[in-house]
Symmetry: C2
Subunit: 399 residues, 2 copies
């Protein structure tokens, strides 16, 4: 049998990074590469109780359910969204297999092959891959620490006639950036004027370090829910646990219902029992305290990594993030971070080079470090190994 | 905001059937429409214990996991597949969100817009919808009680140059049909000769009523795993519970790994905790006895529905299925089953009209009845209501 894959699979071709990171599985390599939450934050005993209570509902907890999701869970999310100035009902909402699936579903119902999506530069690598896999052109818009550059945005809109803009305005992946209110409103205005749908991806918004009022979502700043120029997606992965694979999307009911129909064809629905259990957890859990603990813990880990990086004499530059899970590092210009990774893995530490986060011309001297997974001791060990790899790499390059 | 959906969404437009079936939710309508397993077959207490043991693994049970699935679960499936003459390892296997997702993943990595898939006539309606949603042409091949007509298959291959054939050879949905060994080998031969990949969908194979040796999967009849002309998919939905949304696909490792990459982009992975729990269940559960109980119970329900239908004087025709979950009924020629459904819902019973199961020209006097969900008493009530609706419909048509 001679297999002949679809054209779109060319976007899925193995990356050098993936191959290197595979080497790190199951051995002594310390990983700063993934986007994994700290495991000591998972409410294991509460989840045990929640699954027990879910199964007290009997067979319904194990039967097929609604494609758009378990209604009590959607009501809970709706009520939480309302606290964040997003006035949505269950009909504006769809439960997804992580927020990643929401991106896929919206692409499939809204974009055709060859359509253009504007993205940040850099942006979430899996979104870029997903766009490419669907034959969609991802065009990067320049930006600064406050968000997209509004002039470049206007230029790119005029030049490419995009149908969508994909942004992570709060504690972005990979940069940790937070958009200013002005930039949020600016994006909204230009997108509204040009009939461009905004996909606002917000997995990290709750992980805010500064104790200030939460940043306003772009969705909340627009007319909504019906007629909204924004589809907003988030997830329980970072505030409860990722293994439940439960996220949600909210938006105009017509858009959401189209996503529901697509999901019905694709996988019928996400896990019934996980949705029941999550609802049982949330209905009795002190989520606010739990999130506050995660914030405190991640802030401490971020400060610690920051301190450890400051001790290195490597010429690295970074901005201290105000939230989220990542430190985005710019290395000296001569450093190619994929080559540095190969050296780092030999020393027993891994990270993600910046290259795959760029939709177009990558800046090759960048890397993303995750500070949430490892504890204090292992973070120190990891950064020391990284420093050693960096020194060796510099020496190799010098020769 | 003016929304403009992708071209492919035209395949998702609301169907009359879906609208009628919506009316049946939450009220007194008895449903023979869904493909829902009997709820008294769900091992609720065993699942409770299994989730408890899964959470004994600690944080790993709630963390991100491998895209291709939890290794112990894949090893369990591999060992079960080996009992069924399918000699596969974990690298030939991918855990999916129900077998429905396996169909989507294979379509995405193997087929381009405009490609042709050969299907049975009729075939599983959600597969037809999925093909259309991806812009793939589903071409029906004629068949009889034993499987596809080999001459029509040859004709359609010559005419349409298909890249894939999608079949449910054992207790098909909707017809309940079982393919003969000869037809299985015939399909395999023609597909091998023409480099056509076969997608063998087998959700119902375990639900066999006659106590004979299990029917051989087409996958098991081919050279395998590597180089196989077949990708085989099945699910725990019908032998444990559908709410866990856990299925699997097996095939050539190159094909499977491409599906893994696609899944990584689409939703990263299916629920970690559900896979842990399912493995914990299966490692201590007497699955054979459990499946035997399901077989006995479904056989009894099928026989009962058969008997009830025989009492009706409606001119309906059907074959008694040898397994699976559905009775496929041919009504007298003058009956349009969508119109009959409207009448039936008024009487308090629902079914799925045959029309959406046809990729092309539908036979409008057909319907699919599910016999697994309702108990004895409700099945009787449902068939009586159906008989009444039929009588009223006939009278309306006569006038």
């Amino acid at each position: 049998m001679e297999y002949s894959f679809s054209k779109s699979t060319s976007a899925l071709s193995s990356s050098a990074v993936r191959e290197i990171l595979k080497l790190t599985q199951g051995n002594q390599v310390l990983s700063l590469a993934g986007g994994l939450p700290a495991e000591d934050s998972f409410p294991i005993e509460e989840m045990r109780e929640a699954f027990n209570r879910a199964l007290d509902h009997g067979a319904k907890s194990l039967q097929y359910g609604l494609t758009d999701g378990y209604i009590p869970l959607r009501e809970w999310v709706s009520s939480r969204m309302k606290q964040k100035h997003m006035n949505v009902g269950v009909e504006n909402m769809l439960i997804t297999t992580g927020s990643q699936q929401a991106v896929d579903l919206l692409c499939r119902v809204y974009l055709d092959e060859g359509d253009v999506v504007l993205v940040e530069n850099p942006t979430y690598l899996a979104a870029v891959q997903l766009f490419q896999f669907r034959g969609i052109r991802a065009i990067p818009v320049d930006g600064d620490a406050e968000g997209m550059d509004m002039e470049d945005l206007a230029r790119k809109i005029a030049q490419y006639r995009p149908k969508m803009a994909y942004v992570i305005p709060t504690f972005a992946n990979p940069t940790g950036k937070v958009w200013s209110l002005e930039k949020r409103l600016g994006l909204l205005k230009q997108c509204r004027e040009n009939n461009i749908l905004i996909l606002e991806d917000d997995p990290y918004g709750e992980i805010q370090f500064d104790g200030e009022a939460p940043y306003r979502s772009i969705f909340s700043l627009d007319e909504h829910p019906d007629g909204s120029a924004v589809v907003y997606t988030s997830t329980f992965s970072k505030i409860v646990a990722p293994g439940l694979r439960t996220g949600w999307a909210i938006g105009d009911s017509q858009v959401i219902q189209m996503m529901v129909k697509a999901k019905q064809a694709i996988d019928l629905q996400s896990s019934t029992i996980d949705q029941f259990a999550l609802y049982e957890l949330l209905s009795r859990f002190d989520l606010e305290s739990h999130i506050q603990k995660i914030r405190d813990s991640y802030k401490e880990r971020m400060e610690w990594m920051h301190e450890l990086l400051c001790r290195q004499t490597s010429g690295m530059k970074w901005n201290k993030p105000r939230g989220g899970m990542f430190l985005w590092v710019e290395l000296p210009e001569h450093v190619h971070s994929e080559k540095l990774l190969a050296q780092a893995v030999k020393e027993g530490v891994a990270f993600v080079p910046g290259i795959p986060f760029y939709a177009d011309q990558p800046q090759t001297n960048t890397m993303r470090l995750n500070y949430t997974l490892l504890d204090r001791e292992h973070t120190e060990l990891a950064i020391n190994r990284l420093g050693k790899a960096f020194a060796e790499y510099s020496q190799l390059v010098a020769h």
